[in-house]
Amino acid sequence: MTAGVTAPKVPSAAKLRKRSWYQQPRWHRLFALVVTALVLAQVTGAQGTRGDLFAALEENFSGGAVWGWLGLAVAIWLVREFAHELLGRYTSRVKEEAGRPAERPGDLTPSGGFSPAAAPVWLPALLARTVRFVTDVVRGQRLYRWGSMAALLGLLIVLPLMVSTFWQQVMVDQIGMFVLVAIGLNVVVGWAGMLDLGFIAFFAIGAYSSAFWTGGLPVEPPVELNNFLVIPIAVLTCLVAGVLLGAPTLRLRGDYLAIVTLGFHEIVYLTAKNWTEFTGGSRGAPQLDRFSVDLGFWSYEWELDPRPYYWLQLAFVVVVLLLFVRLEHSRVGRAWTAIREDEVAAAATGVDTVRFKLLAFAIGASTSGIAGVIYASKLGFINPEMFVLLLSVLALSYVVFGGMGSIPGVLIGTAVLVWLPEYLRDTVDPQDRYMYLGGLLVVMMIYRPQGLLPSRRRQRELRMAEEGSGSADALGARPGGAQA
């Protein structure tokens, strides 16, 4: 029965409040921790075997690991329940210490001096304050800012020289590609606030137009072009595709838009897969041209070595970023912000919402198109399975994970999330990599929903949403029903 939609005969308010011992939050917490421990025992346990459904379960529960987890859970529970006050006092002291202002280097000295006995308190606080001090200084000074940008760029340029070829491949084939895609998606989702679950479709369109115009598909193009010349064409194609998708769907609100973009992706994917005469079908298009420059006196061809591709990609990313940073603070960027925060109000104050939403779609799509061209020519082979729906969903999580609307956030978020499965390749059973990725996403969203490096404006919107005034995006009202 539903608790008290209409609560007839209430004996007494006091009786309502009374709970049996097992209903106390303390036991709820223990129960939750035990369940978590059992799940973690499965997460870290044995792999299932063919033909025996319960093999993994039996092994996980017969080994010592499950007891280890249960012990850990109970230990945490005990600490939480019985050393709670102690811990609380400690954290509040650290917080207090960390909260002291740090405007000059001299301010960094702890309030009680560097006494070794109090080290547990001032050490973490000092760390936090130093970080804050340095970031304040760096943020405050123009020179520092440009200097650190240049240093970062320099580091990124030499980075591939310092890692193994395997990581170079990962950096180009996966991190670099998805960074470009995420930058584009950030325009649509982060800035204009439209939920797009089919973004990889544009990536696919870019890759296939590249294959088409370099003569890699079964059909002959009117003229065969160099990969560099294909880029503007691919951008144009994606632009048109973006508008084509955008135009009929502009009336739709958040969730409806999501399913329609998802459907758009599925249709692009199915076309690539089934229109064998044009796209080569599921076997794809092999032996695509690679990037090359021929200026008569000097020529260069990008080959299998991933590094030249990396630098090419980096150049594209930097150019796109420079354009987008300008865009973000221009009239267009402000219009997007207005639409994102309140579409009706934006329209009422004279923002041409249709035009700006279409613009966001088109710009985002074309960035993705560039990525598609580079991808096709780097791998030298494309087929529809490279553009499955799952990637669109993943791309969206990259953007949100990093911090929607914030360019550095999106860059870092994508890099981290693409890097993680590759890193886990050697540390855990490679089959489980995406399980950890999923778990990380959930934990991250619970503890840091604003993302790794959120933009300030976005953070404010989220805070306002938490406090209940306004919603964090133009996707409609926030999920309701939460009364703490």
């Binding site: 029965m1 539903t2 939609v5 609560a7 939750a32 369940v35 346990g45 299932g48 075997t49 063919r50 459904l53 319960f54 993994a56 379960l57 939920l195 009336r251 739709l252 969730d255 999501a258 399913i259 329609v260 459907g263 758009f264 599925e266 249709i267 199915l270 089934n274 729906l389 969903v393 969206l396 999580s397 949100v400 929607m404 089959q431 489980d432 995406y434 399980m435 990725l437 999923g438 778990g439 959930v442 991250m444 969203m445 619970i446 929903p449 989220l462 949403a465 406090e467 209940g468 919603s471 964090a472 995006d473 996707l475 009202a477 926030r478 999920p479 309701g480 029903g481 009364q483 703490a484």
Partner: protein, 307 residues
């Protein structure tokens, strides 16, 4: 195509469509109370499939079951699916969504959490039970039951349609006629006012998840009977059912039923005319067309308003 052909295809469409309808209800109920696209519902569905396999593996079906035994096995499978589906949905709400609700997170955060939970769950299932397809243990001989206009209907098809119709009727009754249903509708209409009126929102949300989860779980079992069970089995039916919920008007229970049936039939005819390869293209084309003219789906949205 002849009339009997049309009947053939229609039967296939209705069978598939009633499964979609049952899954779509899970999406729509949760959307109604939380305005949340519960992407992880496809994993609830997958869990239901495994629940059925597990239940039937424990109580190994006899090789040549009598009619009564068959019915028992089917019931067992349904129970297993419902149990595991409900459990996963319950855990999902408690573990992932409730902490988010407490901090009034935005919908996109919910969506990404759902995506993360979906990745986590299906890979965990793959790890625990193996990453290969497995058949549902045979519960009955799948022979023809009766014929409609020359189209034969077999046991599995009948089972799916009957179970789906029963579940749809139950859900409709629960949402529209019971106290729990009025709680759900109240929360869907206005959570703040509902809580001021004394509705325990946490409980309502939790029960909504369980209700949707049980539906999804049973659908998973039925789907597994019709095809096979695999850790990735949730993704495509999940997406289609999500589309079905949107088509009917997300948040609207009867809309989800209508949307599911429509998409099932559309898919069956797409397969008949254009081949299996274009199955989803037909479904999504219909979806886009409908949404262009009715931006909130066939029956409009929200649990609260239609009931």
């Amino acid at each position: 195509m002849s009339l009997s052909d049309i009947w053939d295809v229609l039967v296939l469409g209705v069978v598939l469509g009633s499964l979609y309808a049952v899954i779509a209800i899970g999406y729509t109920l949760v959307y109604g109370v939380l305005q949340l696209l519960n992407f992880a519902h496809s994993e609830v569905f997958m869990a239901g499939g495994f629940g059925g396999v597990i239940a039937l593996t424990i109580f190994e079906p006899a090789t040549d079951p009598s009619g009564l035994q068959s019915a028992l096995y089917v019931l067992l499978g349904i129970l297993g699916g419902a149990l595991l589906g409900g459990l996963v949905a319950f855990g999902l709400e408690k573990g992932a969504y409730r902490p988010l609700r407490r901090r009034h997170a935005s919908r996109l955060i919910f969506l990404i959490t759902a995506i993360g939970a979906s990745f986590f769950l299906y890979n965990l299932a793959g790890k625990m039970f193996g990453r290969y397809p497995m058949p549902m243990p045979t519960m009955y001989e799948n022979k023809q039951v009766f014929e409609v206009f020359g189209t034969s209907v077999n046991v599995t098809q009948l089972l799916i349609v009957v179970a789906a119709v029963l579940m749809l009727l139950t859900v409709d009754f629960v949402v529209n006629r019971t106290k729990m249903g009025s709680g759900i509708r109240a929360v869907a209409q206005d959570p703040e006012v509902a809580s001021l009126m004394g509705v325990d929102i946490d409980k309502v949300v939790s029960r909504t998840f369980v209700l949707g989860g049980v539906m999804g779980g049973v659908a998973g079992f039925l789907f597994g009977t019709n095809l096979q069970v695999e850790y990735t089995m949730g993704f495509l039916p999940g997406i289609t059912a999500f589309a079905a919920a949107v088509l009917g008007g997300i948040g609207n229970v009867r809309g989800a039923m209508l949307g599911g049936l429509t998409l099932g039939v559309v898919e069956a005819f797409t397969v008949e005319w254009f081949g299996d390869a274009w199955r989803y293209a037909g479904a999504f084309a219909v979806l886009v067309l409908v949404l262009m003219f009715r931006p909130t789906g066939i029956l409009g949205e929200r649990v609260g308003r239609t009931a």
